[in-house]
Amino acid sequence: MPKKILELQNVSKIYGELRALSDINLTVNAGDWLSIMGPSGSGKTTMINIIGCMDTPSVGKVILDGVDISRENAASLTRIRRDKIGLIFQQFHLISYLTAVENVMVAQYYHSMPDEAEALEALAKVGLAERAGHLPAQLSGGEQQRVCIARALINSPQILLGDEPTGNLDEENEGIVVDIFRRLHEEGVTIIIVTHDPEVGDVAQRKIILEHGKITGDIDQSATFGKI
């Protein structure tokens, strides 16, 4: 019996008249690799923010690793996010005045203790051992996103969340990043990736389709998984 890592129960997010998310139910097991797809404005970012403890639902429960986080305040959400979530963004968001390795160490610093050797090792795992001392401006987009992945993983989070992580990458770099996801999945990391791009969406084990804030498709891709 696989371990439930995340459960959304009747989750809605309401902005005035608008239901950005409407009665979402979703269960994710530890080690799963999910992709969330859907047109623009369908609520993908809203959903990933709620899962990532950056936002709270208007209605419903979110149970992360056995704990209901839907009614926590900002400070404890910060703490939970720090301990359990690794985040990757479309725009990378690296600190411009810190080198690649220092950017990774920032996540360690806020979590517990900066450890340069460990940070360098994480960069080596995404193929950036040689570029550790470079500033973000000296790195290509693909390299920057790999630094972000190293940073997201440095504190061994329970779930890796990405909101359009390949949205700003060319095909080659997209391939590199997907390969990294594949390897992480083999290591047992739970991955949830929001994407526009079918090529990224199709490689996951499971694909959720969102439309107008509702789940309109939940596709098991295990038949093709690992073959694309």
Partner: protein
Amino acid sequence: MGNKRFKMYMKMVSSSLIRRASRLVIAVLAIAIGATILSGLVTIYYDIPEQLGREFRSYGANMIILPEGDSTITRETLNSLREIIGVNRIVGLAPYRYQTVKINEQPYIIAGTDLEQAEKNSPFWYIEGSWGNSQDTSSVMVGHEIAETLGLKLGDTFRVQGVKYGEQAEASRQDLSAKDNQKRDSAWQNFSRILTVKGIVSTGGAEEGFIFADVDMLDELIGDTFRADVVECSIAANAQELSELSEKITRDIPGLMPRAVRRLTQSQDIVLGKLQALVLLVTVVVLIITMISVYTTMMAMVAERRREIALKKALGAENKLVMSELLGEGVLLGFIGGALGVFLGFEFALRVSLNVFGRAINFQAALIPVTIAVFIIITVLASIIPVRKVMDIHPAIVLKGE
């Protein structure tokens, strides 16, 4: 191992400043200018009493010393006085001896003095011609009033006559011929000498009715040893110090009556107080302006770095950690600006002092840590409100894609 965390903290704070240096030049400059003016003004503030004390000495003697009862003021007394007052505080110290003489059978008063010292005491006297000195002793200065009465011009000569010290005058007698009377005047108990007008003194005061001559020449003329009727001193000191000095003189040299010239010392203290209040006011204004500019800079910095702050919060940073980083940057800015300002400030004070007072200034070493500390405090205070904006930054809203 808090040490590793502290190292990372310092790394983040210093990298932010160093690698964003061009953006911070203005902030550092604002602080440095503030610190320059502040430390400069404070340096001047502490130097003003001395500077101004010297300036005020141009208004004449601020202490008069008279002999008490039968006691006399000798050369030794003058030496003791110099010692008690302190040579470096004495702007001028001139003894005066007054002697009645006759010119054209009319009585006038010669004031015998140390002319070099008297000149230092009296920079406000207007002299037509020039001051007398102790070399050419037969050249004297006459008061404007006397010059008018006797019709004397520069370079003119006149004869002074009189009875030597301690002798009886023999009056001219009606029953004797003019020739006999003239003989009597040149007798041993009388003196007579021709003097040249070197300068004409205008002061608008009693001085215009005196003849000023070298005191040694006068003593020799009247056949007596030195004794002063009064000593006029111009001392670089405030009212408080002068009254302390008076007490000390009274205690240490019996037979002297020192008197501070209150009118002068009081106005000196009033001007001083006003000047220092002005300096204080300007200092406060400068501090406020510096605070405003630091506040604006920090506001702009927080706005400009919203994404970075949001990211840090997304990575799990608590508000107070992010705020402490920004404050740390403020402290460093204050330190750099303050340190820069101290040295520029001394240069500034030195130039002001040289231009206004014509003399150099003492560098107050204690000003270095104090100025730096003040500007660190100022930047921190000015940063509090901007830094608190961190709490309003929501990572989900700021970091949203598209």
